[in-house]
């Protein structure tokens, strides 16, 4: 079976059970939004999928490969990328260094950086995604919030991942920057990737998601295609 | 259970010193200083002779000064009969003595680290103060320079390397030197007088910079031997070996070696081993209530190549 599958995943921190046994499957070329109130467990679920938290029980498969108990770095190697809410960027480093963070291209010996190759590839990738940044030598901290978000997304997309996880991708953005980020998310879906996002902003969720999963107190409340539900129903599920 | 053992050990550790009687505490200066090493040997030899085990306390570093006070206070808690201190500064020394005196502990000063007048004014009753007068050391060095130049109208160019700012030996030795020099060689020119904070490399850098400005420098007087040895290396590096007279203070082994090798001209020594030996003897006498001289000035000896080669001066037996 292809796709990403969670089977009876549970997670607790000490005595607090954050995730009740949860089974979900995600298809390629589909955007799934996970919504819910604070403390619903949606962020934890995302981090379990990214390999940052280990589940207490259950299994995660990606295209029939078992990912459970692999580290975050191994998840990345298997093609699961996460875009963090705080972006996890090195703000004093330039765009190229951030795009290749942890996966720098080196020449054959002594770990000498191949800066020209990285700059070239960074430029191509950003062009392909339609992200415009005047100077790739700019420290990332000097860019606008939307541009920083775009760099974080481009980094996740750079090594052709199978799964992209977004934690609150639009929460910190000004209204005019949201559109661009949603476009980038759609673009990833069109590439045939599994896209999963956690968000508080229902407007953005309805604008981009194909499927909406509502969670409450660590449980699955509803799981419906976006077309088959409405804002008021989702809100009702979240609150009720 | 384990915890109980620890507490018991800790208690034993705290209580234990109070069990001993007639304790003599000597608060030294930080280790790493050969002068105080010799002084320590003097104390130990005299103690051995008297069959006493003295307690020696050391600050980790001389730079912080405050450590002296901390050591003093922990010395007081051990309730010794006498505390003898080689203080880093006069004010801290006096503060320590006051607190000790209030507990009925005798106090004394070794190595003339505090001013006896100030002690009197502050109501501190020093059993004795032994050491060499720092101003006298400077004067002795100046007299040595003057003797070398013979002619009263000679105008040598002189660099003075001071010790730490605020420490009596660091400042008083240069002061004595300058004062005596002005009367013996009125035309002498002091081209630079800077503090190297007792640091070898700083002294070296100051010397190198001064030689740049004054290539025909004649004399370097450093407030201790370690700094003088730094100056030796700077003079050597500038290719002026043998052209500059270098005088240090203390007579530490390395300086004696340098004097023998002709790298240094002289070292004024106040015979630290002698001071250590006498300070211990005086401490024992004071505790036994014997009458002793309140101030004792240690003899000075100018160590030159000739003095060392002849090996006749009786004071040389105290040079360690």
């Amino acid at each position: 079976m292809s796709g990403l599958r969670l089977e009876n995943i549970t997670k607790s921190f000490g005595a607090i059970q954050v995730l009740q046994p949860m089974t979900l499957a995600f298809k390629a070329g589909q955007v799934t939004a996970i919504v819910g109130d604070n403390g619903a467990g949606k962020s934890t679920l995302l981090k379990v999928m990214a390999g940052i938290h280990k589940p207490n029980a259950g299994a995660i498969y990606l295209d029939d490969k078992l990912l459970t108990n692999l580290s975050a770095a191994d998840h990345r190697a298997c093609g699961v990328e996460m875009v963090y809410q705080d972006l996890a960027l090195a703000k004093q480093q330039n765009v190229v260094a951030n795009l290749f963070l942890g996966r720098e291209q080196t020449r054959t010996c002594f770990g000498f950086l191949n800066r020209t190759a990285m700059a070239e590839r960074a430029k191509n990738e950003l062009n392909r995604l339609g992200i415009s940044i005047a100077d790739l030598n700019t420290p990332v901290g000097m860019l606008s919030g939307g541009q920083q978000q775009a760099v974080a997304i481009a980094r996740a997309a750079l090594f052709e991942p199978k799964v992209l996880l977004f934690d609150e991708p639009t929460a910190a953005l000004a209204a005019r920057e949201v559109g661009q980020v949603l476009d980038l998310i759609r673009q990833q879906k069109e590439q045939g990737r599994i896209v999963i996002l956690v968000s508080h902003r229902l407007n953005d969720v309805f604008a981009v998601a194909d499927r909406i999963v509502v969670m409450k107190q660590g449980r699955l409340i509803s799981d419906t295609p976006t077309a088959a539900t409405s804002m008021s129903k989702v809100v009702e599920n979240i609150v009720g | 259970m384990k915890r109980a053992v620890w507490i018991a050990l800790l208690l034993a550790f705290i209580v234990h010193p109070a069990l001993a009687d007639d304790k003599y505490i000597f608060i030294m200066k930080a280790i790493g200083n050969p002068y105080w090493q010799a002084l320590k040997e003097g104390i130990e030899d005299a103690s051995k002779k008297a069959g006493v085990t003295p307690i020696l306390m050391y600050p980790i570093s001389d730079l912080a000064k405050e450590e002296d006070l901390n050591l003093c206070q922990s010395a007081i808690t051990q309730k010794p009969r006498i505390i003898v201190m080689g203080a880093e500064t006069t004010s801290i020394g006096l503060e320590c003595y006051k607190q000790a005196q209030a507990q009925g502990i005798l106090v004394a000063d070794m190595d003339a680290t505090i001013s006896v007048d100030l002690a009197k004014k502050s109501g501190v009753d020093l059993q004795y103060s032994i050491g060499a007068d720092n101003t006298l050391i400077g004067e002795k060095a100046a007299a040595f320079v003057a003797a070398h130049f013979k002619d009263k109208n000679a105008a040598p160019k002189i660099l003075i390397i001071e010790g730490a700012v605020g420490s009596p030996p660091g400042q008083d030795r240069p002061i004595g030197f300058k004062r005596k020099l002005a009367s013996l060689l009125p035309k002498a020119e002091i081209v630079n007088s800077l503090s190297a904070e007792w640091d070898r490399l700083r002294a070296m850098n100051i010397t190198a910079d001064t030689l740049m400005r004054t290539p025909d420098l004649n004399v370097i007087f450093a407030a201790n031997d370690v700094m003088a040895l730094g100056a030796v290396e700077a003079v050597r590096a500038a290719g002026k070996q043998g052209q500059v007279m270098i005088i240090g203070v203390d007579g530490i082994p390395d300086a004696r070696k340098a004097v023998k090798d002709g790298l240094m001209t002289a070292s004024i020594t106040q015979l630290p081993y002698f001071i250590g030996k006498r300070t211990a003897e005086l401490a024992f006498d004071a505790v036994q209530g014997k009458k002793i001289e309140r101030t004792e000035s240690a003899p000075l000896l100018v160590l030159t190549k000739e003095v060392l080669a002849a090996n006749k001066d009786p004071l040389l037996t105290y040079v360690r």
Binding site: A72, A73, R76, Y84, L87, A88, L89, A90, K91, Q92, Q93, A97, L101, G102, R103, E104, T106, G111, F112, L113, D135, N137, T138 | A30, I31, G32, N33, P34, Q37, I60, S61, L63, E162, V165, V191, N192, S193, L194, S195, D199, R200, L201, M204, N205, I206, A208, D209, T210, M212, R213, V226, L229, V232, E233, R236, A237, P253, D254, K257, A258
Partner: protein, 316 residues
């Protein structure tokens, strides 16, 4: 235009500021003293800067990675004393004694890094501990007494010239070039800066944080070790009390050179300029025979000026 420069390349701007400051100091002293610009004096400034310079370069890596190394002066004294001991008391060949002492300096740094990794304590605390341990090791090796008078062949080589440069200056230059290559051209250098910039991001993105930290501290230890050797060669002695307080001067030079004290931004060129600023100031004031009281005042004023610079820097 200025604002643009500001946002485009911070590092270059900070280096330009530092250069400007150095040039101002240089201009002032060359007007005030005719000896300042002489070849011999330039040589003096560089030789005098070698010990602090090498320690500062080592510290640059640690600061770049978001740590702080307070052990450098202790390690420096330990390595110099140990090497003098091996040469003089042990009769070792310098070809054995020098690499051995420098290697033990690296080991001190490695231990600091290792302890920071396993305790997850601030490197400030761990390196403070190592400072005392290394200083104590120097006392133990030398029994608290300076070791004076090294073999003639070592001293004449160490105080002589090589390729037309004083040996300390030559070592400093080699150290600068190697450090520059490591920090700017290798994956390790980039990882060091990223770790200092955002430790969480570094870890999440698979940067081997522990290994990078270990390497930065080991490098700092090696550089302190070489500094200790230079101290030993210049002063012809292994002095266990050598260089008390130098670790702070080294860190000051790094910050003066535009590094971020909390990590993520540091350049070797900036550090070298920072060292030169402090060295030129000291040398110039010595040439002018300014008394110690006022020298201390001027050094303080320069540091306050540097603090103002960094305030301007943070207002981007």
């Amino acid at each position: 235009m200025f604002a643009r420069l500001f946002t485009q390349n911070q590092n270059r701007l900070y280096i330009a500021q530092c250069l400007l400051f150095l040039a101002a100091l240089g201009a002032f002293f060359s007007l005030a003293s005719p000896y300042f610009l002489s070849l011999g004096n330039v040589n003096n400034v560089l030789t005098a800067g070698a010990v602090i310079g090498l320690m500062a370069i080592g510290a640059t890596f640690v600061i770049a990675s978001g740590g702080i190394d307070l052990s450098s002066a202790g390690v420096m004294a330990f390595c110099g004393t140990l090497c003098a001991f091996c040469l003089q008391k042990g009769g070792w060949s310098p070809w054995l004694a020098l690499p051995f002492s420098i290697g033990l300096g690296g080991l001190c740094g490695f231990l600091t890094g290792f302890l920071v990794n396993i305790t997850e304590a601030p490197s400030f605390i761990v390196s403070l501990g190592m400072m005392s341990v290394a200083r104590a090791a120097a006392y133990i090796v030398s029994k608290g007494m300076p070791i004076y008078g090294l073999p003639d062949n070592v001293i004449s080589a160490g105080q002589g010239q090589m390729l037309g440069l004083q040996v300390p200056v030559l070592l400093l230059i080699v150290g600068i070039v190697l450090a520059w290559i490591l920090l700017t051209q290798t994956q390790f250098g980039l990882h060091t800066l990223i770790l200092g910039d955002n430790a969480f991001a570094a870890q999440a993105m698979g940067v081997p944080a522990g290994r990078v930290r270990l390497k930065t501290f080991t490098l700092a230890g090696i550089y302190s070790g070489v500094a200790g050797i230079i101290f030993m060669l210049r002063t012809n002695s292994g002095d266990p009390t050598a260089g008390q307080g130098y670790e702070l001067i080294a860190i000051t030079a790094v910050i003066l050179g535009g590094a971020n004290l909390f990590g993520g931004r540091a350049t070797i060129i900036g550090t070298v300029l920072g060292v030169l600023c402090l060295g030129v100031l000291q040398n110039g004031l010595n040439l002018l025979a300014v008394s110690t009281y006022y020298q201390t005042l001027f050094v303080g004023l320069v540091l306050i000026a540097a603090a103002f610079l960094s305030r301007v820097r943070s207002q981007r």
